[in-house]
Amino acid sequence: MNNKFVIAVYVDNKFGVLTRVTSMFTRRGFNIDALTVGETECPEYSRITICLSGDGYAKEQLINQLRKLINVKKVEVIENNMSVKRELALIKVKNNSQTRADVLSAVEVYRAKVIDFTASEMCIEITGEPSKINAFIEYMKPYEIIEMCRTGIVALERGSGTLLSKNTKTGVHKIR
């Protein structure tokens, strides 16, 4: 059964580490939906957030193969009900007197923001769960999207815990 998973990875903040991670995905045939990377609370680590569609086998293999990379320090699945997830999108749409009011009211309802505005087009910034962004994009399609980009998900677990302090047990696996 195919599901969507979000996996957070702490890696050494060093030259070439992202290539090591993505090269492994290619080699092992993992299909990645989105990947974001950036600095963290510790300057020596970067945090990679990976969205993956697949079954339980793909999820387990992805985690195990990631853990084997020397520069990977921590790999955790971000569970849906225990976390906050956000994505940001920038969407440039046509702007004319017939559609302007509709577009602006959608921007308000979706709590998006207009960040650039000219006589012929406007640029909208929207953040939220990917499902909300998908819905907004669907709504905008008839108004002619000129250009668009999305960041991919970033995610944190709720509560006071941190991924780095989490104690992951490896040792015994049972299936079947």
Binding site: G16, T19, K68, T170
Partner: protein, 564 residues
Amino acid sequence: MKMTGAEIIINTLIEQGTTDVFGYPGGQVINIYDALYKNSDRINHILTAHEQGAAHAADGYSRATGKVGVCIATSGPGATNLVTGIATAMLDSIPMVAITGNVPCSLIGKDSFQEIDITGITLPITKHNYFVNKIEDLADSIREAFQIAKSGRPGPVLVDVPKDVQVAVYDYEPQPIVEKIPLPKADEESIDEAVALINESKRPYIYIGGGAAGLGMGKEIIEFAKKIDACIGCTFMGLSAVPDGCDRFLGMQGMHGHFASSVAQKHADLIIGVGVRFSDRATGNTAKFAKQTKIIQLDPDFAEINKNVNVDLGIIADVRDSFLRIAEKCQASKKPEWEKQVEELKVKEEEIAKKAAKMAGDRMTPKMIFDVINANKLPRTIITTDVGQHQMWAAQYAKFDTTRRFVSSGGLGTMGFGLGAAMGAMVATGDPTILITGDGSFGMNLNELATAVSYNIPVVIVLMNNGVLGMVRQWQNLFFQKRFSQTVLDRKTDFVKLAEAFGAIGMRATNIEEFESAFKKALTAGGPVLIDTLVDKDEFVLPMLPPGGSIDDIITDIGGKDSE
């Protein structure tokens, strides 16, 4: 102490216990070779004919001893020539450190002469690699490379050093040999779970892989098998982990495994896997593999559990420790029914062998060649091979008296591996070494005969010459209606003269008497010897599980499929 980067490289290698390196000089490693020259009383360099030979030699060195093999090559083509050798080591989990030179940092990224991104190229075929662009990181990068190469599940590590870093001067202080990162010990609960599964089992099968081959547990495995009345089978990479001569050992299972070993594995109710990864060549069709059988897997690599087949209990920990603790805790028991069943399979295997021998008539069969080798080889002999039919015959018939005696490219299946690896194994151990090869494989790296002669490495080369690429031809024979596309070599190469041209001894054997006499002479020749051994081109490697098939499809003679 102030030193140049090149001197730091050599001193760090020596500090980490390296006594022999294999390599080939070039423009961007001149400084390293200068440092080797100055330290030639402390470290021995073997100049191969080609960098690929150096990589295979470092690999063979490691397989025969467990030490980290080291090879050196220059930038660009020197580095790319190592690639097949590094990949070979990766697929068989062999600890190796490869040092390459590169163009100075100021020329990196400019498509300079002999510049290549070797860390990029080797990313998927190394356990890890380093591009060292700062002299202050150099010694520690090499130390880390050694530690990564030999810790956990071993593998190759490459260290790429630009020329300006080799020239720069920095402080160097010798440090002790880096220790392996210790593997976790299994918790008592999982040991107890394994013990419970074993105590319940009526038909246990101990399944030994490459992960156990280097641990020197042959005696313990046999004792455990006796205690619980189990039989023992192994993977290709597990050969020589258990010395021959134990009647519980059924030999290799899998695509070309022994009949009794493969069929017993099917009938077992519990497989106790020790350092195995359930490769496709061992399992056949995984959808049909061990469906009625429980599996315990002991391995240091958590990514191997449930990767190829699902297991009932995977213990990811120090394999030796887990095995010994499980063996200690299990109840001793007798299983006469299982023993009888296994005995019957062995009898059946004997019958198949007798029938094949009868059908062969007078011709010199691979089995006869290995009978002569087994009867005459010296104690502690290492058998290395190339890849193809001869390799599978070696895996089926060769006998080993102790561990780390079988050196062969299993995972990658690298034709041209054998001669370099044989030299590496012999340099490392000084033990008698026999290379079993074929005319196809030997043609790929026969230039290393020059190295064997130059350093007087007395490897005995048994070249099973059938004038064809036998393994591919066998598949064409069975599955492609005998369309022998590009597998008929029929070259005019005279291998005896070829050996002589390199300064080695060449002999030819057209029948088994000639082979026996040539082989005996070769053992005492004191230098490299090649025996051109003529084999019929229609010899098959049997039994065989057809690709994608299972044990139920086993072919034991070319008359067709043999169901039990």
